[in-house]
Symmetry: D2
Subunit: 112 residues, 4 copies
């Protein structure tokens, strides 16, 4: 099924972003400087929720996949911008996964 | 982080099951013999929902990961048993992904 | 908290739509004319998923609540349009809950 | 549909718990003493996620509703126990909603 192939990379990039943002979220909760990480905790949750939702939607070939990916792009960008402000490795890893997800979602949205 | 490594295979197996059960779900909806596939449609949705929930929970190292995996095992087994009744390739693929997920979740639950 | 009050009606309308669309979904799966209800089954799942996501996002005062509501409006409208084609009571009830959800989400989006 | 009526109170109690735990979560993130609230932030997320999942499952009359409610009871109890340690009004409100949800879920599980 060609649509399935079309979504494959994007689903994987979303799953990677779910992982990275959840690892960042739970790691932030344990950091000494938690008071500096309020927005990071908030946005990593937003990010993992929408990425999980998007991967789920694409894997069932939702008629709204493109619109859901547009929203995913927006939220991943906000999460990446916040994570990039912090020196923790989990923040940097999360930012990289979010940037990658944005890139792949953008390709998907243009093709669809 | 060792806990992260511990969950890695299980998260991947859950994501595979989300994919396979959603592909099966949407494919069943298009089949000529849809009236034979009512339970398959119902259970693939149950399965993708819990597997997505479990992957999310493990990636944030939820204190309830083991209990969530126990429930995942139960639902994946029911889904696999139903899918195995049908000759469609997407049903067979879903059953295989569910069986694999059960196996990996079981190892995870025993270790945790 | 004023933001909380602002979202209250919209959260309730989303929860109503989750309920109605899930009842319609599971009822369609049991109907004799299931082959006529393929799109209804597909769209009620899309609808319950986004409405649940939106209610969750609003209750945590997500910075993306407005954008998520815009997407919710789009999906609820598609679901209502499909449900209105079918004479089943659960379809009619679902269409009404979706139309109501669209209305309340629209007010929320304009204010926010 | 009698099953629908059976679940009605339980679905409502779950939605109330989603609301209260998400309000507590986002409020904790803004508190001055955030470092004291790490577990509260973690558990309110766990709680809202499972309660949302449970409400969704019951509204579609999932064959696994009872098992999902058992897990919901466990997570709501952990969340309530943590919230009760903190003097903030949102923590107390969340604890009350969780205790209520536990009570109603317990009745539902026994009947089912």
């Amino acid at each position: 099924m060609s649509q399935e192939l079309q979504y494959k990379d994007c689903i994987e990039a979303c799953f990677e972003a779910v992982n990275a943002s959840n690892v960042c979220y739970v790691s932030c909760l344990k950091e000494y400087d938690i008071a500096m990480l309020r927005e990071c905790i908030e946005l990593t949750r937003e990010c993992s929720d929408i990425c999980s939702f998007a991967a789920d939607a694409m894997s069932r070939m939702s008629p709204f996949a493109s619109d859901i990916c547009s929203l995913t792009i927006q939220i991943c960008e906000a999460c990446a911008a916040e994570c990039e402000k912090h020196p923790h490795q989990h923040c940097q890893d999360c930012a990289a996964a979010c940037r990658r997800c944005v890139e792949v979602c953008r390709e998907m949205c243009c093709v669809a």
